[in-house]
């Protein structure tokens, strides 16, 4: 394969991992949403580049969906939700920043070790994409675990979804129907989560999910 093509794919997929770390680093909700939009743009670029080098035009549609829904609709919707909820504009973390970052690095290392062992002998581009996709997924999970605010957990969930799409784009022969259905399921998930957010806020006057633990009598 052309080396420059590989290098650019590597750069874009690596940029996706980097934006996942930037999501972990943010301490303001609005900045978090902006970084999420940036991640979606990076994803769209990565998928678009994959479409170009794999000669798979249907991936362009995936990239377009990523730009439209994930970089525009979802961040704007979340912005308005945060404004209407009137919650604290700061991200409340369960674990402080530096341990979270170190755990994130550990997860990236883990996903690389696992993926490089498992996919031995496969196409280098697919191997590298799968390794990066697994690290983005694990970082999204880490974000959901270490945040107590529901909005930032939603962002963690969405960034996890970005990793799934990167993996799907890297593996050749993914049908378009599946991608579109994944994109719509994310949108439905956003709507459901939005409704839940407002229900939680009505019930507890907060979107801090630790209030749920108090309610169930599971105070740590």
């Amino acid at each position: 394969m052309n080396r420059l093509a590989f290098d650019i794919a590597h750069l874009l997929a690596g940029g996706l991992v980097l934006t996942s770390f930037m999501l972990l680093y943010q301490d303001r909700l609005y900045a978090l949403l902006n970084v999420f939009a940036l991640q979606a743009l990076t994803l769209a670029l990565a998928v678009g580049w994959q479409a170009h080098i794999q000669h798979a035009p249907h991936l362009y549609i995936t990239a377009a969906i990523a730009v439209f829904f994930k970089a525009l609709v979802i961040p704007v919707a979340l912005h308005r939700m945060v404004a209407r909820l009137g919650v604290h504009r700061e991200v409340e973390t369960v674990v402080s920043l530096v341990p979270t970052m170190l755990a994130g690095i550990g997860l990236v290392a883990l996903s690389m070790v696992v993926m490089l062992r498992v996919t031995h002998g496969a196409d280098p581009l697919a191997r590298e994409d799968l390794a990066f996709a697994l690290s983005v997924i694990l970082l999204g999970l880490l974000m959901m675990v270490t945040r107590s605010n529901a909005v930032s957990q939603v962002v963690g969930f969405m960034s996890l979804e970005n990793g799934l799409i990167l993996a799907a784009a890297g593996a050749k022969g993914m049908p378009l129907v599946v991608e579109i259905s994944v994109a719509f399921s994310v949108l439905i998930a956003l709507i459901v989560i939005g409704i839940f957010l407002f229900r939680i806020r009505e019930r507890f006057d907060t979107v801090d999910l630790q209030a749920l633990d108090d309610f169930r009598g599971e105070r740590r």
Partner: protein
């Protein structure tokens, strides 16, 4: 004969870093002042300050030990040697067999260790505060620097600066995400190590924020001149390091003709001027951080270094 030429180039290199260091600091101050719509001190002011300090009487506290008097010279010597090991206008210098990135990190680390000792030696509260803060930042900045060095070494196959620069000039380098991450990490480390603005402000003596200044508060006269000169050398060192690794254009190769050496010198001066202007622009556009935010900021450099090393393993040559 060739040995003599090599020796001459190495000596010129040592003198160039020593003479250019105050000029770089003067340039940064001047550009910063112009950006703030002030006129600013003349470019040569740092030289005049150094001369003035050397002429002044040196006052040493009663409680100071012999360490306090020796440390300025130790710090200066370590920093000068480290700065002379970084290729500025030519690679393949006479001592480049020892000009290993790890050796440079170690020299700077020992200089910092001695400076922190000097801060605590007199026993005033400011010196203690400065030393403890400096060490707090160092615990993150030094591993970050080493991680950047490791990722560079993994990419270029060597920690020798001449080899790294030659590799960066070759077409084998390509577009790499690891290199970008390593560069940002190195810039953050450089800002932190040189006490530049988001981390520390060398222009104030405000007890809430000062780090480097608090450590050297007890020094005066020629001791202070040595310390100031080594701080300026350190800034020049980091600028040359970043220039030599990431923008090595114009560097003269080993045993080059005088023309290539002159071209290298011109390119080096241009890089210095560009870096000074960029630094001044950056410093005027960001605000100073709270001291307890700084570990997060330097932690980013550590994280970028780690990430660069990890991402290297899934790149082309895996």
């Amino acid at each position: 004969m060739t040995l003599l030429v090599h020796l001459a180039v190495q000596i010129v290199q040592m003198l160039v870093v020593l003479l250019a260091a105050p000029l770089l600091t003067g340039l940064v101050r001047k550009v910063k002042a112009r950006l703030l719509r002030r006129r600013g001190p003349p470019l040569l002011q740092p030289y005049r300050d150094l001369v003035k300090l050397v002429k002044k009487e040196t006052i040493v506290a009663k409680s100071a030990s012999w360490l306090f008097r020796v440390i300025p010279y130790l710090v200066f010597a370590a920093t000068w040697v480290a700065a002379a090991l970084v290729p500025t206008f030519a690679t393949g210098l006479l001592f480049s067999w020892s000009a290993d990135l790890i050796a440079i990190t170690a020299l700077l680390g020992s200089a910092r260790f001695f400076l922190a000792l000097a801060g605590m030696d007199v026993g005033t509260s400011f010196g203690g505060i400065g030393s403890s803060r400096e060490m707090m930042f160092a615990t993150l900045a030094e591993p970050a620097m080493l991680m950047v060095v490791f990722s560079l070494a993994l990419i270029a196959g060597s920690t020798q600066l001449s080899t790294v620069a030659a590799f960066m000039l070759s077409p084998a380098v390509g577009v790499r995400v690891s290199l970008g991450l390593a560069m940002i990490g190195l810039v953050i480390v450089a800002l932190a190590e040189n006490a530049r603005i988001p981390v520390d402000n060398p222009a104030t003596h405000l007890e809430l924020t000062m780090v480097h200044e608090a450590m050297v508060l007890e020094y005066s006269g020629r001791h202070l001149a040595m310390i100031e000169l080594s701080a300026q050398l350190k800034l020049l060192l980091y600028v040359s390091l970043i220039a030599c690794i990431f923008v090595p254009f114009g560097l003269a190769p080993t045993g080059a003709a005088p023309g290539a050496l002159l071209l290298g010198a011109a390119a080096y001066l241009a890089k210095l001027a560009g870096a000074g202007a960029l630094l001044a622009l950056f410093e005027t556009s960001v605000a100073k951080m709270r001291v307890f935010r700084v570990p997060d900021f330097i932690g980013v450099a550590l994280m970028l270094g780690l990430l660069a090393t990890l991402l290297r393993f899934v790149s082309r040559e895996m």
